[in-house]
Symmetry: C2
Subunit: 403 residues, 2 copies
């Protein structure tokens, strides 16, 4: 039905998209810090944004673009978040938008803007402007990797993906670049995620599908329970594939949504696995819940528990901390109905610990990827939350990442 | 009105109370692990308990005692939590209660039982029984310090306090011992707090006053956002002072409650300052809220943020992480109305950072005690939350505290 492609292809895998990433000197490190994605034709756009009441200027600016359902380009910078920057911050976000629109020959309202990095500093607009011009000069059908490198902050590597599916007899392509790392939690704190597709789909349907997919992918990640001021996930659909335009919730819509979910869950796993200082990739799979919301709440409670996360860093099968976090999640649960498994090995059932093969469990705990399975035994709904462990390195990164 | 006394006096400062702490070999370390508090006369009792759905056996057992409003003794062990121990755990908690009642010559229903330590192990009942007998043999009017040492786990020192007040012309005394450290958060996770007073007060009024005081003291502490299966705070009031019995909410009741609040806020500060691996004691003072609940929610959001806690460990005045945590607390707030101060120095106002004297702020950040003041500018309610920083040592303690 669908097939995953080389992640490297990313946002320029779909037809009609160009991308670029350049060094504008916004980051002290001198690493790439301005990214641009451009659609050669007008595209439908949809987006989801942080729910933080202290939303950054670019978030507000881009929400206005998404409200129009059409866009042509994305311009993003790393190194400075343009958050908590007051009226000057709003003016700078609007200027980023206008500068990009001028150089690309489109309307300001067609440009999504995004920023990530340190909170509370004004953007160095001279550098940003130079960066936007430089990026526009090198837009390329193979520029996705450069764009991906230009949006990361404390990430240890850029995240990207690509996938294709056949809709109405036509091959439709999807690509993504993302940044994640620290502060990630439900509502996608400090995630920037840019998706392109050459599918032809109605803008309103695109938003509905995208919101549903994000709720089951990026919003299921937790790194440290914090939520940032700058998060956004954006999708541009430019119709270059020439598929029969998706105008209703039929088979093509369902397949479009399923494919998008595979792409977004894949990128979500990459983001969680690269949490700041992470040494483990942990999947918390909650089953037997009365609702998806309950399952997600329980999964997040476990995934956000510093005691659980430090125990897994220590490779300690401390199921007591897991069941404790289940118990305070705020979801009605029955200890005697609940079972907990680590890597498929039961460690808690019927209200007590289960005796286990210590060698087998040690093999589970010392692996990089670990699945915590929690069956509440009360219903049929389930949810998967992706997270990582809490390491010395996490404290080092965040204790020394000075403002 | 009231005067604080030597903390060492603790739960044996009030008249008619004896206490003891002994080594029963439950802790591998060989440190004291069984504590007993005994009232020479029947006492009114009140308590508050963890809200964790996975409550430990002793919590359920002691809730039944508190429901009767009268008690004579408290017996507590450290080293093993008797949590997630199923029907055997319930039987063991009842046995602890019965053994203590037999040796003290009171009814089982008059004995509060408490346990703290590793989750999921059955109590070594032979050692527990020996410990209860040994403790009863050495009950003493100066035994509070020994009892305090016998209830701690990863605490670096025992916590205690004492205070007196004049009610109806009579001196009334209060004392407390407590344990805290890791896993502490609202609803008192992993806090054991035992308070004695020789005041004479109706049991129902005692519970009402105690619940209100705990909500404004122990429930305002956060160390790492986790909540344990074993927490309880208990107060015994034996009337030995001979004050006119408090039967209604008059002046004596108000003064009794105020004095109890001072005692409980003092012990709460000590618990927060001794959080696992803590290098800083942080007070998050939220003002200008529409309600106490809103102020507490915002304070807890900041106090539970690993990014805020690691920043303070790094002595970095990262107000961006603070305002970010305010923004995602879930309480309606206006960035432009909100001000943030560190040690009285404004760092955020009118939606942007405030320029500050770097040397003065460095002096604030390098101190051990730091006050984060957040004024939401929307109302007149306030709340103080006490927490600590997140250090390498926290990760070490919790990564290596093996089950």
């Amino acid at each position: 039905m669908f097939s995953e492609k080389s992640a490297e292809a990313g946002v320029t895998y779909p037809r009609g998209f160009l991308a670029a990433g350049v060094r504008a000197g916004i980051k002290k490190s001198g690493n790439p810090d301005v990214a641009m994605i451009y659609s050669e034709r007008e595209a439908a756009v949809a987006g989801t944004f942080t729910k933080n009441a202290v939303a950054a200027a670019p978030v507000r600016t881009s929400q206005a673009v998404v409200a129009t359902h059409t866009a042509r380009a994305v311009v993003a910078n790393s190194g400075s978040a343009n958050a908590c920057t007051g009226v000057q911050g709003d003016a700078d976000a609007a200027a980023m938008q206008r500068i990009a629109a001028d150089v690309l020959g489109c309307a300001s309202q067609d440009v999504i803007v995004a920023s990530t990095g340190i909170i509370g500093q004004l953007l160095p607009m001279d550098k940003v402007e130079q960066g936007i011009h430089a990026a526009a000069d090198v837009l390329s059908p193979t520029g996705s990797a450069d764009a991906g490198r230009a949006i990361i902050t404390t990430d240890t590597y850029p995240k990207a993906g690509a996938i294709s599916v056949t809709l109405g007899g036509t091959e439709v392509r999807f690509g993504v670049i993302a940044k994640g790392s620290g502060m990630i939690r439900p509502d996608m704190a400090t995630v920037l995620c840019f998706i392109t597709t050459d599918a032809d789909i109605d803008g309103v349907l695109l938003q509905e599908a995208f919101s549903e997919v994000i709720e089951h992918s990026l919003n299921m990640i937790s790194i440290d329970g914090d939520m940032s001021t700058n998060d956004m996930a954006i999708i541009l659909a430019n119709g270059a594939a020439g598929n029969p335009k998706i105008m209703e919730k039929g088979d093509d819509y369902a397949l479009f949504k399923d494919t998008l979910l595979v792409l977004c869950q894949g990128i979500s796993e990459k983001i969680a696995a690269d949490g700041e200082g992470a040494t483990k990739f942990i999947t918390v799979h909650v089953k037997g819940a009365m609702s998806f919301a309950d399952a997600k709440t329980v999964g997040m409670s476990v995934a956000n528990s510093p005691l659980v996360k430090t125990a897994f860093f220590g490779e300690d099968p401390n199921w007591g901390r897991v069941i404790c976090a289940v118990g305070y999640a705020g979801v009605p649960m029955h200890p005697a109905h609940t079972t907990v498994k680590f890597g498929g090995i039961p460690v808690y059932a019927d209200g007590v610990g289960v005796s286990y093969d210590a060698d087998a469990l040690r093999a589970v705990m010392t692996a990089h990827d670990i699945v915590i399975e929690i069956d509440l035994g009360d219903g049929t709904e389930e949810a998967k939350v992706w997270t990582c462990d809490f390491s010395y390195e996490y404290v080092k990164i965040n204790g020394e990442y000075h403002t």
